[in-house]
């Protein structure tokens, strides 16, 4: 999961602090309204329209089996090739030149690949709601 050094977007969820490498991020924004997608895992909040783009919004806290931390939630848009996916971070975010030892570096691609594998393993059509 580790990527090379460099500035991080850090935030603190209920259990521990995380950092997203700035290179994997296209931008941050305030949370937007999502429409849920039937059959998607619980961590997928749904689809949203963002400046004419269709974004898949994923709840990062749910994905990491965490609960949100303090501060206003932030929508983190990912950089290409994941630029049509956004992570909802349930905590205030800040920039740090380099991660401290206590910060877990996240690789969005790896995190999302795990989620996708989860969908595939369930045959791509079952749902949590059923």
């Amino acid at each position: 999961m580790a990527t090379d050094g460099g500035p991080l977007l850090t935030f603190r969820l209920s259990r521990s602090a995380y950092g997203l490498p700035l290179a994997t991020i296209a931008g941050v924004a305030e949370p937007i309204a999502c429409r849920p997608v039937p059959g998607a895992p619980r961590a997928v909040l749904g689809l949203a329209e963002w400046r004419g783009c269709l974004l898949t919004v994923v709840d990062l806290a749910a994905l990491l089996h965490e609960t949100p931390g303090h501060g206003p939630a932030t929508l983190v848009r990912l950089a290409p090739p994941l630029d049509r996916t956004a992570l909802l971070v349930g905590a205030a975010v800040r920039l740090e030149p380099a991660g401290d030892d206590g910060v877990t570096r996240l690789d969005p691609a790896a995190v999302l690949a795990r989620l996708e594998a989860e969908i595939v393993s369930r045959g791509g059509e079952t749902s949590d709601a059923a």
């Binding site: 400046r51 783009c53 049509r84």
Partner: protein, 638 residues
């Protein structure tokens, strides 16, 4: 004289001519060799001049006249492509004419401050070009549309010469684009700068400004020019090259192709921002109360609609781009088979969505080669049958609305419906009774069944159609249909009806269990209001009595894996699958038919099988695009 009446006439006609002139100029940008377009442009400008003269708008007459002269010069020398270098000037002139017409419409005097200098610049340019034109040898344009008469003698030719100048700029003035503007102004003192690379204003990108290239028309001789350049102080190094010959002039625009290659992802991005603009405009219009602003918003909407359409067009690629591949493929095979064939393509200009075209090439190649391989007989047979020696294969494209019909016709041996029926029975596809009931067209359709053509291949009547199942799959995957007509001994026609674009589809927007879905129209045979009298519930499963028999229905939400909503509401409707034998789905409400731009789902949702994508509706909400397979899918056991 009823001036007011004439004024109205003037306004209406001049607006029309201006619009047409602009459209023609756009066309010329794309196809500079189009002599017709140039002539049309000339006529519009000429008409504008006449109307302005009648109404006594001197500024307008001046500019129109000067532009007319310049255009006449290109028209006369038969090298409209050279106009490309002067497009900016032509645009400026049209803009100036437009400003004057607007002023008149708003009751202001029909004058424009920029008109006189502009007219002068136009005249000067025309004069200097006439000089060049006079000294050029006959044009060696690839396909001159028009015979090139000699330049009009009306233009007075001053003693000016053109120089192509390349400048290396001193780095200390960078990235200050204002400095560059000052530099170009200073160059303007030397004479007329007709072409500048990069164009002004210089972008914020500093590396682009380090070199400049321009063509300058001047009375000065090269030595004088050199001293003047040195005097500018900001120029580190320069080269001077006379452009008295016409060839370099033509090279000023190094992309003589009819089409501009554009990166597909840029187009996608452009499309996306256009959609965003449309959405933003929608919410703007909804929040406007002031009638004046509302009118402006409406104008924006119309412009955006046109813009959107243009963008859709931009995604379209002319069939011509793949025509060569097909021709080569056919001729290669003909050589190998020792047959002679006349392969023609009509409707090369018909344009299809890039993705449709890409997906179509291979199946089409297959069909054409089939026609040659299995359809067209060998020479002796053809002569025996009284047919001309070389076979004929005609590929025709025709566009109607948003669909394109591709027809492949041959004059080969044709298909024998009887033989097809026999084979179908022999291979167990049909019972003899079923085969008897089969019409000829339906019999021809047999060749598109998987496994059928392989069976045919082993028989004497191989006909054609090997791999037609693959062709059919590909066409249907694009949302198209395949139809086969044939006449034994005379030839076969294969028709493929395809959507022009893939990205935009017609869909029914429906609601099921509170969520919006878009069901592709092509997947729906029809919609029915849910009539309780014709609905049966057996073991918790719902059946609908239709003229297609009892069909099983399931809630759309349940089929795509959402929690089952239970009872459906009063507005409930059933959507019957267009797949024969398949059932249909129940929805709570049909919101209507929409043209939607399908966006693929991204990681991680692309793994979901129920949806092929999603679309943003006009109000900014999103609808999931349902995979047609869901329509016929059996409801999952609850």
């Amino acid at each position: 004289m009823d001036m007011a009446r004439y004024l109205d006439l003037f306004l209406a006609e001049s607006a029309e001519h201006l619009a047409s002139a602009e459209a023609t100029l756009v066309a010329l940008e794309g196809a500079p060799d189009d002599g017709d377009a140039l002539r049309r442009l000339f006529r519009h400008v000429h008409s504008l001049k006449g109307m302005a003269a009648t109404m006594g708008f001197a500024d307008m007459v001046g500019v129109a006249h000067a532009l007319e002269d310049l255009l006449d010069l290109f028209r006369g020398c038969g090298a409209p492509r050279a106009l490309l270098a002067y497009l900016t000037l032509a645009w400026e002139a049209l803009a100036c004419l437009g400003r004057i017409v607007d002023a008149v419409r708003e009751g202001r005097p029909g004058r424009d401050g920029a008109a006189a200098p502009l007219a002068r610049r136009l005249r000067e340019t025309a004069a200097s070009l006439a000089d060049l034109v006079a000294s050029r040898p006959p044009l060696a344009s690839p396909a001159p549309v028009q015979a090139a008469p000699l330049p009009s003698p009306r233009v007075r030719i001053p003693r000016r010469r053109g120089f192509r100048v390349e400048l290396d700029l001193a780095p200390d003035m960078l990235p200050d684009s204002a400095g560059a503007v000052r530099l170009v102004r200073a160059l303007g003192d030397l004479g007329e700068v007709v072409h500048l690379t990069p164009p002004l204003p210089l972008g914020p990108d500093p590396s682009a400004g380090a070199r400049m290239a321009l063509v300058v028309l001047t009375d000065l001789d090269p030595t004088d020019l050199g001293t003047r350049f040195e005097a500018l102080g900001r120029v580190r190094r320069f080269t001077l090259e006379p452009v008295a010959r016409p060839a370099p002039l033509a090279d000023l625009r190094p992309t003589p192709a009819h089409y501009v290659r554009v990166r597909a992802d840029l187009l996608d991005a452009l499309m996306q921002s256009a959609v965003e603009l449309t959405l933003a405009q929608g919410s703007l219009a909804a929040s406007v109360a002031d009638p004046e602003t509302a009118r402006l918003a409406e104008r924006c909407r119309r412009v955006l609609a046109a813009h959107h359409e243009t963008l859709m067009e931009l995604r379209l690629v002319p069939f011509e781009t793949v025509a060569h591949r097909l021709t080569v493929g056919v001729q290669d095979l003909a050589k190998r088979l020792g047959k002679t064939v006349q392969f023609t393509i009509a409707g090369r200009e018909v344009r299809l969505d890039r993705s449709v075209l890409d997906a179509l090439v291979e199946p089409l190649l297959h069909v054409v080669r089939n026609a040659l391989d299995h359809g067209v007989e060998d020479l002796e047979t053809r002569i025996d049958r009284g047919k001309p020696g070389p076979g004929t294969i005609r590929l025709t494209l025709a566009r109607s609305h948003d669909r394109v019909r591709v027809t492949v016709e041959d004059d080969g041996r044709g298909l024998d419906p009887e033989a097809l029926r026999r084979t179908a029975i022999a291979r167990g596809f049909l019972t003899p009774q079923e085969a008897d009931r089969l019409g000829d067209d339906e019999a021809f359709a047999l060749v598109t069944l998987p496994g059928f053509t392989t069976a045919l291949e082993r028989t004497e009547v191989s006909g054609r159609g090997v791999g037609m199942d693959v062709v059919r799959d590909a066409v249907e995957a694009l949302g198209g249909r395949v139809r086969i007509r044939s006449r034994l001994g005379t030839g076969t026609t294969i028709e493929m009806d395809l959507p022009q674009t893939l990205a935009v589809i017609q869909a029914l927007v429906v609601r099921s269990a509170g969520t919006l879905y878009a069901v592709p129209i092509s997947a729906v045979d029809r919609t029915l209001a849910l009539d309780p009298a014709r609905t049966r519930r057996i073991d918790g499963r719902t059946f609908l009595d239709t003229d297609r028999g009892m069909l099983e229905l399931g809630s759309l939400a349940a089929r795509v894996g959402a929690a089952h909503s239970g009872d459906v509401g009063a507005t409930a409707a059933a959507l019957l699958s267009s797949e024969p034998g398949a059932g249909g789905v129940l929805v709570d409400e049909v919101l209507g038919r929409r043209e939607i731009l399908v966006r693929p789902l991204d990681a991680p949702l692309r793994a979901l099988r129920s949806f092929t994508g999603a679309a943003i509706l006009e109000d900014g909400s999103t609808a999931l695009v349902v995979d047609p397979a869901v329509m016929g899918r059996m409801p999952s056991p609850l």
